[in-house]
Symmetry: C2
Subunit: 688 residues, 2 copies
């Protein structure tokens, strides 16, 4: 088991790298072809003086077709593959079960989907989806099987079965995904820990780190091999910010950075607010599947039209050679040897656009171009995130930030000519991303690893810190907003504020459905049918009011255990001993891939058997976690977070069960800060 | 409070940087002078043909004098400043109280001491001590006061008082120390988390990271300013491995690295075993203070003599210019334009020696020189660690490893001439350090940050992984060995193996000294006098057998609270109400700097008052953590680690107290692997 764990971690790293490199290479090749085609038509028209009608129609058609395909894939195959996937992975790692999240369908929809989204010209990146795909791959490798559809699966080998262990592998997969995407093994690991982990487990983090390191290295190797020099190892990740010529800075510049951080925080909060309104609108009005697909198509068409209008309308010409030799520029109406400056930004993937904004010489884009670009790309970014397509928000956020950062940089360079705009674009990108996502530690490390310069770490850190503070003053982060809107009972990392005086007795559900140590089969079935708890206290009888048995606590039994006991028919008429020979410890392991558990409806029990008695004593956990009713809410919270609890039984001083706290009970309490005001909300949690 | 916390974190970073830069600059300047002096005499003698008597005597005298001074400082001022301090800081962060650890004396002894140790020619580094000094500085800044000696302190401002908060600052200080030492802010932060933290608290880690980043940046700034170009920021840490010209590698080379990792693990285990024997010997025979000082003097004299004998005896000449212009070489008996190759390694600080081994051209040292150097330096390293001086083990370990790594590198270069020895020296250094310390995540990140090349992260990681596995097969790591030998009740990060079936009832102390809700003052004093628990259960009376009151659990009260209640005389004759006006919540904060708490002996209670009644109900915590007797040991363990518990009360199903588990009870169980055999030990824990 020890060895196989490391082997699988290794495989997760390699697999994620193959995936990342595959996605990267296919996107780069096809996108290049696409934009070359458009460029050719554009240039031909502008030279020959045609109406530009042909290239625009081609552009629109390509975008519409590809992105609708991507949207259809996600919408019809596995809707959980929509968006970046990070909010879902985060919730899953936090212990919330999300149906379909780790299936083969989700994998296909996510991975193919993100390629199609980018090719479809949507303002999105492939980094978030990479974390999700990595997670699914890790789960598949750990289980040694892939579920195709209900009751059908391919099985390769027997490996890990318990939820707990698979979760560890998913954490490694997500870390590897981020690591492969950004060439940031440390950042990826910290991302997994920061977003997901309740507690620091050195053993586990070390394994996750290993997997992330393998992923980073292998991606590097594969991409370098693709470029023809495998041992040079020049491309650690899909997105690397490339080397900045000069990242040294004067202390006085930190003041400018801080102002930029505030702007980033404000802009980020605005992004979240607008996206929130849009999400609510979508939840209410865009519910039909074909509508979702259509919306994605429309956004991609709009993206193409807007891009074209900007190139046509702003029509700023420049003769500055772009940073990369691969960049596609269109001459449009510019005179020879110069090109339309907007074309460098739009005739490329969002990632290419980001790199151009970070590295192009400071006079590559005019002030007007940049200003228009910022506004338009910001709105496109808001509109795109939340579509029913597989899409990440990292790259567009960075690109928006890099654009306004560059704008500020141009201002600074006007005043102090010896400075470089790239630095400001980088800070702008960091602050924008910080303002939208509000992650701190991992984001700092990821950006530092992306730039490869430790000395610039302090400004990046300060920027992220301030933009988070400013943003948090107005809204929660984009991912958390997502999670809240979808009603997932996620526990935040800290107990909600203003809850110090709330007691366990006020949080707990009561009365509790409890079982007796020797319980009638019929009663068990009724209870399982009527409630959705994952575990039930087992008590001595004292008084009985329908199913609400009150009595001394004896143990706890899980729903899954009850189902297995019922299915194996470990019960007998009262007074007789039940058959115990046909049940073993391993039957209680969850033998089903996630999403296909034993269900109550799969179990058939005759009317006669319903009168039989099931003796729970041999199977129940006799030492559940318990606390008294006066235990404070923050301490209950820490128990759940710190120990990954799912059920906490509340007992009185006679050791009788008086209530039970589950994650959902806690997740109801969520303190929000909106427009700087604090409030505690008591949410209604939907079942997911 | 929010703002002041960040301000102090900032100050911790700046302070640590000032400290690190100060130590670095003074060591560099003085050591350079010292070795120049010796070199001058050596060269003069060898040219003029004298007996070499003068330089050796001067060398011995300087070493003996300086290192004895350093030893005396530590031994007489604050013995807790001996060694690297990391084991103590680790224990402290884990919740163990170590008297004197965070005092001004310890700071002075540690900081001045490490300068003297290095100048005294001992085989030690200044990185571990930096973590300790950083921690002390942080504690001082957080408390706003420094204790000079008993009852005397300088107070600057009122800041943080609670143990818990000061611990957070110490974590930041330690991280900043490592960060400043290695230019590794991420590594430093992870070091603090890996060594210390029981759980991942994003808020806290973010603060620690901030402080480490400030420390790294400021050290960089100060050292660059010292070299005359403050904005170049070329020296992120005290020890940076400098840029390697070529760290690319073929996949096949990984096999060589793996073999080296095994060697590192074996050599590391040998280091720990030898040092363990020596530590036990020292504990038994070198107990007098003057003996300790003398031993340090002897080791430094031996170091000088051995260095001289090697330079004299091996007498290998080379004309290869050393890597750094600052290196001091001695011609000795070599012909003109060439120099004694050993002299480059010995006429410098251990840090200079390490850099020379990593970066000097591959023909700078002969095979014989290196072999002799490795053996001698290994033994010197073992002998030095554990002396009563302030000394770190990072640099000597790295230097030993770099030496044998270079030896292997020379072999490889013989076979495949286009390779570079520097790479092998680096892997050797990493594997040796990994074999001795057994830290994983933070060490990988630190070394990667030190080299500044992510692509070489994977080989370093694999090396550290294997060397840890190999080493762990034989012994625990050096720090853990230290902690075990000194009997500190530290909980490991995982529950001890082979303890799955041990129950809480077998671990707990019983019978428990408990108090009644209304207790006689005399009884409280007797109980406080007879036992050293930090907290006592409060129960209803049921039966009474001397002080062992059995009854329903009502709450828990801390020793500290009892002492404050007694001192404030919150008691009254039976039936009367006690005076409550003169006590406030903040009286229960610990108003004393660590090491100077309210003691029972400071409290005077008259014989009459001993009959009075103290009502504990208003002050006790009514919701202590409790579990049943059948709770398993690993789960108890996780409660302690995960929640930072200090007392866990064991109750039966009548809610009566039947026992209590403290950290010491748990620390008794320690599973050891020695020579590949597993065993569970039941240690006797001394009071520290």
């Amino acid at each position: 088991m020890f060895i196989s764990r490391w082997v699988i971690m290794f495989a997760v790293g390699i697999g994620t790298a193959l995936l990342a490199a595959g996605v990267q290479i296919s996107v780069e090749i096809i996108a290049h072809e696409k934009f070359h085609l458009i460029q050719k038509f554009l240039d031909k028209c502008s030279v020959e003086g045609c109406t530009l009608f042909t290239p625009v129609i081609i552009w629109i058609a390509i975008n519409f077709f590809i992105s609708s395909l991507g949207a259809a894939l996600v919408t019809y195959v596995q809707p959980v593959a929509a968006g970046s996937g990070i909010p879902f992975i985060k919730s899953y790692l936090n212990g919330v079960r999300i149906p379909g999240l780790l299936t083969l369908q989700a994998f296909v929809a996510k991975t193919l989907g993100v390629i199609l989204s980018i090719l479809g010209g949507l303002a999105c990146g492939k980094e978030g989806p990479m974390a999700h795909s990595g997670g699914i791959m890790a789960a598949g490798l750990a289980k040694g099987r892939m579920r195709l559809r209900k009751n059908k699966e391919i099985k390769f080998y027997d490996a890990f079965r318990s939820d707990h262990e698979i979760r560890d592998f998913v954490a490694a997969g997500a870390a590897s995904g981020v690591s492969a995407a950004f060439g940031a093994p440390v950042g990826g690991t910290l991302f997994s820990v920061e977003e997901a982990a309740s507690f620091w487990n050195t053993e586990l983090v070390w394994k996750v780190f290993f997997s992330a390191m393998v992923a980073c290295f292998s991606t590097n190797f594969l991409l370098s091999a693709f470029e023809g020099h495998p041992t040079h190892l020049s491309s650690p990740g899909l997105v690397r910010f490339n080397t900045f010529q000069n990242l040294s800075f004067d202390l006085i510049e930190i003041l400018v950075f801080l102002v930029m951080a505030v702007i980033g925080g404000l802009a980020g909060a605005l992004f979240v607010v607008l996206n929130y309104k849009l999400t609510v609108f979508r939840k209410n009005y865009i519910r039909k599947k074909w509508l979702k697909v259509l919306e994605s198509g429309i956004v991609s068409v709009a993206s193409a039209i807007i891009a074209f209008l900007l190139m046509y309308g702003v029509n700023e010409c420049t003769d500055v050679k772009p940073y990369s030799d691969h960049a596609i520029t269109s001459q449009m109406f510019c005179k020879d040897k110069s090109h339309n400056s907007m074309s460098t930004l739009f005739l490329t993937t969002p990632e290419g656009c980001l790199k151009a904004l970070l590295h192009d010489p400071h006079d590559a884009y005019g002030v007007v171009s940049l200003t228009v670009f910022i506004i338009v790309f910001f709105l496109l970014g808001v509109w795109t995130y939340g579509l029913s397509v597989s899409s990440g928000v990292f790259i567009p956020s960075l690109a928006i930030g890099a654009a306004w950062g560059r704008l500020i940089g141009i201002g600074v360079v006007e005043l102090f000519p010896h400075h470089d705009v790239g630095k400001y674009a980088l800070i702008g990108a960091a602050s924008m991303l910080g303002g939208i996502l509000r992650t701190t530690i991992s984001l700092t490390v990821i950006i530092v690893e992306c730039t490869g310069d430790i000395s610039f770490g302090l400004p990046i850190m300060l920027t992220l810190m301030i933009s988070k503070w400013v943003g948090d003053f107005f809204t929660t982060g984009l991912y958390d907003m997502n999670i809240e809107v979808s009603g997932i009972p996620l526990l935040s990392s800290e107990p909600p504020i203003l809850c110090e005086h709330v007691k366990a007795s006020e949080v707990m559900s009561q009365p509790v459905l409890a079982l007796q140590t020797q319980e009638k089969v019929g009663t068990i079935i009724e209870i399982l049918d009527s409630e959705t708890y994952g575990g039930y206290p087992v008590v001595d009888v004292r008084k009985k009011d329908q199913h609400y048995v009150v009595g001394k606590l004896r143990g706890i039994i899980l729903k899954n255990q009850l189902l297995v006991l019922l299915e194996k028919k470990i019960f007998a008429p009262e007074g007789l001993l039940p058959p115990t020979s046909n049940i073993q410890m391993k039957d209680f392991d969850n033998p089903y891939p996630i999403g296909q558990r034993l269900q109550l409806k799969d179990i058939t029990v005759t009317e006669e058997e319903k009168e039989y008695i099931l003796d729970l004593k041999p199977y129940m956990n006799i030492s559940p976690y318990t606390v008294g009713p006066s235990f404070s809410m923050p301490r209950v919270f820490r128990l759940f977070r710190g120990l990954g609890l799912r059920h906490l039984i509340i007992i009185n001083d006679k050791f009788e069960v008086i209530g039970m706290v589950t994650r959902k009970d806690l997740a109801k309490f969520r303190s929000e800060s909106k427009r700087g005001m604090l409030k505690v909300e008591h949410l209604t949690i939907q079942d997911v």
